[in-house]
Amino acid sequence: MFKNPWKKCGIGLVGIFLVAIFAGCTNSESGQTDEHSENSASSEALLEQPWEKTEAAAENSQVNLYMWGGDEGVNRYIDNWVAPRLKENYDITLKRYPMDITEVLQKLQTEKRANKETGVMDIIWINGENFKNAKENGLLWNSFSDKLPNFKKFIGQDRADLQTDFGTPVEGMEAPWGKVQYVFFYDAAHIKKPPQNFIELAQWVKENPGKFTYPEVQDFTGSGFMKHLLYDKMGRDVLENELYREELTNEHGDAVWQYLNDIQPYLWKNGENYPASLTELDRLYSQGEVWMTMGYNEARAERLIEDGTFPETTKSFIMEPGSIGNYHFLSIPFNSPNKAGAMVAINELLSPEAQLEKMQPSVWGENTPLSLEKLSEADQEKFKNIERGDSVLPSEQLEAAYLNEMDPAYTEWLKENWMSEVVQTTH
């Protein structure tokens, strides 16, 4: 019958296709239903049962952590320090998947629409408007943070600064992982005295054309820069603890755009192009194309200096009216297949040891959300003795300048208008 080998090929191929598709379907479907029934039954119980039971349930399981993968130090911390520890202490295999948070949320949303009850992500790294968005769309699992022993012991539910995340009530839907403040970095080889406020910054930009820029508004760091400008133009009282007020943006919006338009011709590339991300701005800074960079995490320059990426003469500064600080969190998606494992892993990430390691300048360098006074004397000593490095400002100065994040609606407003008010005007 099969005289022609091509026909054989063709038939074989169709066969392979069908088998592959069939295998793919049945595989996932059977997996889905099994895990699903188990999942929904146990996920409520997870929040009731004693912690030992959760630990036992997490044993010998895999936890998938989805996070942005562009920082080699952060990746190494997860892969080479956290993962082996979880394996040793709890027999949990932690697997890190590099993915931007916007893509993570879009994926969760698509899965929710497709009724995919058993997803693939167990832990996601999140804060700010992304948290607001995820919470409002029901993409997160439940209130879990006060079930974690380390959270109860070292942070506690009553911490005033952790009640909201950019104004959105946290309500235990995410657990704080790190604390950062927004600072500017400059190359002291070129700049003797960094600007003290936005007026001086504008002067400096005009005197040094092409040597300054900021990331576009879609980027977290870019909108962060503009939020400092909002603080400068609108004042601290109305932004720090209050909800979005449209009359404020109506009244002061022009001043904000005017400032940005005013400096635009003197920016890198005459303001025709802005870095798409913080990493791109860092690249420009590392090559000397610009002389300043910026960003959340007051200590992030240390490791980059050590690697030879940033010049050794890199220092940091903050300007009037202050430095916005925030927390970033870990959360569990609604369709996590291993919620017990996720809880155990997050608990471990909040342990003093893990936080101490993370704060080392050669690892990640960022500050801890733990309340130091709740730690043992020995641990307190260790945290106080960390040498954060010469490029990091003294902690008193940082604390004195601390500004809370504002309502994410302001970021939305910036995102909606920056492109048309500032960028498109250069045509």
Binding site: G10, N137, N273
Partner: protein
């Protein structure tokens, strides 16, 4: 029976690949089209997303940039590839030359874009070289910025990547060209241009058309290169679509799909026009004979 088998054979051979093409492209495009025509919350039919798109200057600027970038890089690649092949095809018979031309094909687009950055950015190697020669005193004087609103860097990347592709498409045609034609034309007193026009071009035209269309549709729709070398505004169409697709809530997703549908429509239209033209030319020529 045998005749029937003979007749059905080509269809059987083509069945798997045609099925794959139809299933993937048909299904994917249909799903995207449906999503662009439905309200994202209620699912009702609407053309509002297209209406918004066509009244949005952001879209038009992106469309213009994408179109000109794709057209320019395709045209330059095809012409350069043609010139190089025509004058150097003897060399390419040797394997080492052929291998050399293959090299850029082995480099992924992402990496190629990074290479362009490494060489041509303001702090790149060319800029350092110019400084050493004393032609510029400062980085800001560097004249060949590639990351600009004209998409120069993007075009450069595609040329570096696609000229070898054009050469590889054209080489077989040149090897098959009958050199007697050339001799005849030359004896009749025709110059190189004459040779090219009457002997080479008719054989090349269909391949050139096809190559051009492939390159154009790839360039206008690819994401990776403009991601690295694009500018804040305007963005190339795929980047615009991607940004809307991944924006915080679902509301911009139909618009993202609509952008892709317009791009699809444009490339298909262009492809049919080009193929139609070249077909008609061929018909006319065969009738002329």
């Amino acid at each position: 029976m045998k005749l029937f088998k003979q007749r059905i054979k080509p269809y059987l051979l083509l069945l798997p690949s045609v099925t794959a093409a139809i299933v993937f492209v048909g299904w994917g495009t249909a799903a995207a089209l449906l999503e662009s025509l439905q309200d994202w919350e209620t699912g009702e039919w609407t053309v509002v997303y297209y209406h918004e798109l066509f009244t949005n200057p952001v879209f038009w600027d992106s469309l213009f940039l994408s179109f000109s970038t794709a057209l320019l890089s395709t045209a330059v690649s095809v012409v350069l590839g043609l010139v190089v092949t025509r004058y150097l095809y003897h060399y390419f018979r040797k394997n080492r030359w052929k291998l050399l031309v293959w090299l850029p094909m082995l480099v992924p687009h992402l990496v190629a874009a990074y290479l362009v950055l490494l060489f041509f950015s303001d702090s790149g190697l060319l800029s350092s070289l110019l400084y050493r020669f004393g032609w510029i005193q400062e980085m800001s004087e560097y004249p060949f910025s590639v990351q600009n609103r004209q998409g120069t860097g993007i075009i450069l990347t595609y040329i570096w990547k696609e000229v070898p592709f054009v050469i590889l498409m054209l080489l077989p045609v040149y090897y098959q060209l009958n050199s007697n034609y050339e001799a005849v034309i030359r004896t009749l007193g025709g110059g190189s241009w004459e040779v090219f026009k009457t002997a080479e071009f008719p054989a090349l035209a269909p391949v050139l058309t096809e190559t051009g269309i492939i390159l154009f549709s790839f360039t206008i729709a690819a994401f990776e290169v403009p991601y690295i070398l694009g500018v804040t505004y305007p963005k190339m169409l795929p980047l615009l679509s991607y940004q809307w697709y991944f924006e915080n809530d679902w509301s911009s997703r139909p618009a993202a799909m609509a952008v892709m549908m317009v791009t699809t429509f444009l490339t298909l239209l262009l492809a049919f026009l080009a193929f139609g033209l070249s077909q008609r030319r061929r018909n006319q020529m065969s009738r002329g004979k």
